[in-house]
């Protein structure tokens, strides 16, 4: 039905996950798989680019919650970027901005990781 696509690319030490389409209970396992791969490769610095994501359900939100702890324990994090307003609204209502970092642009998020590295 609703299509979903997830791809990962590396920008320096940071992995960027591009999400496309609809992220819901049916497609969430694909994203989980992607996170599992990152952990297998010891990649804990993750930026999720929401530029082409049209919809996210509560099951989709759950994926980030499930992995953020592991990332943070390993000196990494999951940061969000390029979110469209209606998608951000969902995150905002839930209070995610208190717990996660959101950026207008992917570069800012990567920059944030790199700054931390230097300091």
């Amino acid at each position: 039905m609703a299509d979903f696509n997830v791809t990962t690319r590396g920008v320096g030490p940071v992995r960027v996950i591009d999400l496309k389409g609809y992220l819901d209970a049916h497609t969430a396992p694909e994203l989980e798989q992607e996170f599992n791969k990152l952990i297998d490769h010891n990649d804990y610095k993750v930026v999720v680019n929401f530029d082409e994501l049209k919809y996210i359900s509560s099951a989709g939100l759950g994926v980030f919650m499930a992995y953020v702890e592991t990332m943070r324990e390993n000196k990494g994090d999951i940061k969000f970027s390029n979110m469209q307003d209606d998608v951000f609204n969902i995150f905002d209502l839930l209070g995610f901005p208190v717990l996660y970092e959101f950026f207008k642009d992917e570069k800012e998020a990567i920059e944030k990781f790199n700054q931390k590295e230097k300091s």
């Binding site: 209970a25 509560s58 939100l61 759950g62 919650m65 209502l93 209070g95």
Partner: protein, 690 residues
């Protein structure tokens, strides 16, 4: 009078037959011997009628044996033997009486009557039995030659009473007699039923036909000899004697033909038996497939029948399971042996070809090098179980005799493998549907339980109208709402949405209900309550799950609404057809179990004004989708609420339901929908004073 119709009619026929018999009795005592042709004709007509109704009556019994020709033949034999015995005995005891006119007396009349009746009965039985034999497996509607034969029988019957002497022989009678014999010869060839007998029955028939044929010939010969019986019967009725003679000739010819036919059928009898058995086995199997749902039971029948039909010594059935091949059933072979042979052939890669294959002694010897026990088998056939080009297993048939499977046997093994495949498929489908049915009924129970968890009625308050709605997307959902009467003045309420859908969220929802119900009794402050709830839920929620909620209460005395929002959808207050969205800070339950949750949770208090409508909902409403996958959205939802001044919240509720259902028409519901509406109507306070 509950006699069945045919029974009633046959009783009537018996009555008529007996009546005619009595008339003949009386008639014969009045005219023991006669030369008067009119009385003679009357005599013949009476006897003909007796024979006619007698045949009609006995037909009822012979018809019952329509499918047992052997038993019919034996019946003929018994009566025939009685007649033979009678004629032989009487001929040896009594001499031919020289001049009947002088020597006739009462005793003779009585004896002659009894003997004549017995012969009549014999003729009747033999005639009706032959009739039945003629019509066995008759495939055409035309039986002209039979009808013609009967007609000539009747003609011969009546012509027999015409005067006959050395100088002036009865040519008419003779002609009818000869024509009758020709027709008998033609009709005697209708013995196709012999082909359908089993080998055993054919052998029986062969022996019976020899004995019966001899008796018939002896009887027929005796009708030509000048004996006591001949004299007696001819005196009783010339027609009867003529008919008896015809019957005996009929029997002789018929038995001869039966003898030769069954003799020639004997060599092919075995092959024919096998075909019949195969056909009936397939019939049994197809019946089993529709009746027996247990595959193992079916597999047993399949292997059993396979050994029978293919002349094998052993057969076994293996099915493909996720873990590999599994032996489902064996016939006449040990599980271990069958398993071992299967494994050898599997490891040789023969089973991967998924085709019907047979192996000769040499080939088996090559395959099975290690095990001497398995050398027993000299021929082996393997047939795949195929349905829709999908192989679900294999049927093995093995033989100890040193000759290969012929085409017929291969075909029947393949046919049984096909049946097994269908049965296997059926059994699987049935198992699945039973499982599905079970889950369905359990979900139904879960649904009922869930509806019991939710409040069955909305609380009645003087100055607060309350209405609520819950529509799960699946059988069960993860939404929850409830009301708590905290004290006289305060009515607590909660609306919550568990992440995810279906059963997993329904379990959490039940737990959430327990937490809120308990805490509502202990804690007044919405913020404090939600913080406590977050702590409790941290122990049971998994990492992926969270719960959004709004908890609050309406203080009726103060006319105030107090609430806190844990990541949930905004709380609407509609005042004078204008919506105010209240979104105090707060993150969802389960997102963070530390300090952040408490720190970011803000409590909000609103002074209510008369006719304010408080709207609580879950995202199932705003995210309801139509066929084009467009969302119902905030705007549509809000415009309904602010469209008019709703006197009654029920009205608003039904308007919202209607709008959503017409919007989503044709599309299935994606998420649970929950809606709680409360309207503040402080009637006791005149408006404008506060």
């Amino acid at each position: 009078m509950n006699l069945p119709y045919s029974g009633l009619v046959s009783a009537r026929k018996l009555e008529i037959t007996i009546l005619i018999g009595i008339i003949i009795l009386v008639f014969k005592f009045i005219f023991p011997i006669t030369e008067n042709s009119f009385i003679l004709i009357l005599n013949e007509v009476l006897i003909f009628c007796a024979l006619y109704f007698g045949v009609l009556y006995t037909s009822h019994f012979t018809q019952l044996k329509k499918n047992e020709p052997i038993s019919l033949i034996i019946n003929i034999g018994i009566f025939n033997a009685v007649l033979f015995f009678l004629s032989a005995l009487s001929s040896s005891l009594f001499e031919v009486i020289p001049s009947l006119e002088v020597n006739v007396n009462f005793i003779y009349s009585a004896i002659s009557l009894i003997i004549a009746y017995i012969f009549m009965a014999g003729v009747v039985v033999v005639l009706s039995a032959f009739k039945e034999l003629y019509f066995i497996r008759l495939k055409t509607d035309t039986h002209k030659s039979y009808d013609a034969m009967i007609v000539f029988f009747i003609l011969a019957f009546f012509a027999a009473s015409l005067p006959d002497s050395k100088e002036d022989p009865n040519f008419i009678g003779l002609t009818f007699f000869v024509v009758s014999i020709i027709l008998i010869s033609i009709n005697s060839f209708r013995v196709s039923w012999i082909a359908f007998l089993t080998k055993k029955q054919k052998t029986q028939l062969l022996i019976i036909s020899i004995i019966l044929g001899i008796i018939f010939i002896l009887n027929a010969v005796s009708t030509f000899e000048n004996s006591f019986i001949k004299q007696l019967l001819e005196n009783f009725s010339p027609g009867l004697h003529s008919l008896l003679r015809l019957m005996m000739i009929y029997g002789s010819i018929y038995c001869g033909i039966i003898f030769f036919t069954s003799l020639f059928h004997l060599p092919t009898a075995e092959a024919f038996d096998k075909k019949v058995e195969e056909a009936s086995s397939l019939k049994d199997l197809s019946r089993l497939i529709t009746q027996v749902f247990d595959f193992n039971e079916l597999a047993d029948s399949i292997t059993n029948l396979t050994t029978k039909v293919s002349n094998s010594d052993s057969a076994w059935l293996v099915t493909k399971e996720p873990g590999g091949l599994k032996l489902s059933s064996v016939s006449n072979i040990g599980y271990v042996d069958a398993d071992e042979i299967t494994k050898i052939f599997e490891s040789e890669g023969i089973l991967n070809q998924e085709e019907f294959v047979t192996f000769s002694r040499k080939q088996i010897r090559l395959k099975i090098k290690n095990d001497i026990r398995l050398f027993d088998f000299k021929a082996l056939a393997i047939s795949p179980l195929k349905v829709h080009n999908n192989t679900s297993g294999f049927l093995f048939a093995a033989r100890k005799q040193n000759y290969g499977f012929d085409e017929d046997e291969k075909k029947s093994i393949e046919a049984f493998a096909d049946y097994a495949a269908v049965a296997l498929e059926n059994a699987k489908l049935i198992e699945e549907s039973i499982e599905k049915e079970r889950l369905k009924s359990e979900l139904k129970v879960a649904r009922e339980i869930q509806y019991k968890i939710l409040p069955s009625t909305t609380p009645n308050c003087d100055n607060l109208q309350v209405s609520a709605l819950f529509i799960p997307a699946y059988e069960v959902g993860g939404d929850y709402y409830d009301f708590f009467r905290m004290n006289e003045d305060k009515l607590g309420f909660v609306i919550a949405d568990v992440s995810g859908k279906g059963i997993s969220s329904a379990f959490i929802m039940a737990e959430v209900k327990g937490v809120f119900e308990t805490l509502a009794k202990l804690i007044d402050s919405p913020k404090e309550l939600l913080v406590k709830a977050n702590n409790i839920l941290s122990e049971s929620l998994d990492k992926k799950s969270f719960v959004t909620a709004v908890y609050g209460f309406v203080d009726k005395k103060k006319g105030q609404l107090s609430f806190a929002r844990a990541g949930h959808m905004p709380v609407y207050i509609c005042r004078n057809q204008k919506i105010e969205k209240l979104v105090p800070n707060g993150i969802g339950l389960g997102l963070d179990y530390g300090y952040s949750f408490e720190q970011n949770l803000k409590e909000q208090t609103v002074d209510l004004v008369d006719n304010d409508i408080i709207v609580l909902y879950t995202d199932g409403i705003t995210e309801a989708k139509n066929i084009k996958m467009e969302e119902f959205g905030y705007n549509r939802f809000e415009s309904i609420i602010s469209s008019e001044n709703f006197e009654n919240v029920e009205e608003l509720k039904s308007k919202i339901i209607n709008k959503i259902s017409s919007f989503t028409q044709g599309n299935s519901q994606h998420d649970d929908i929950t809606l709680v509406l409360m309207k503040w109507v402080s009637n006791n306070k005149p408006s404008g004073v506060n």
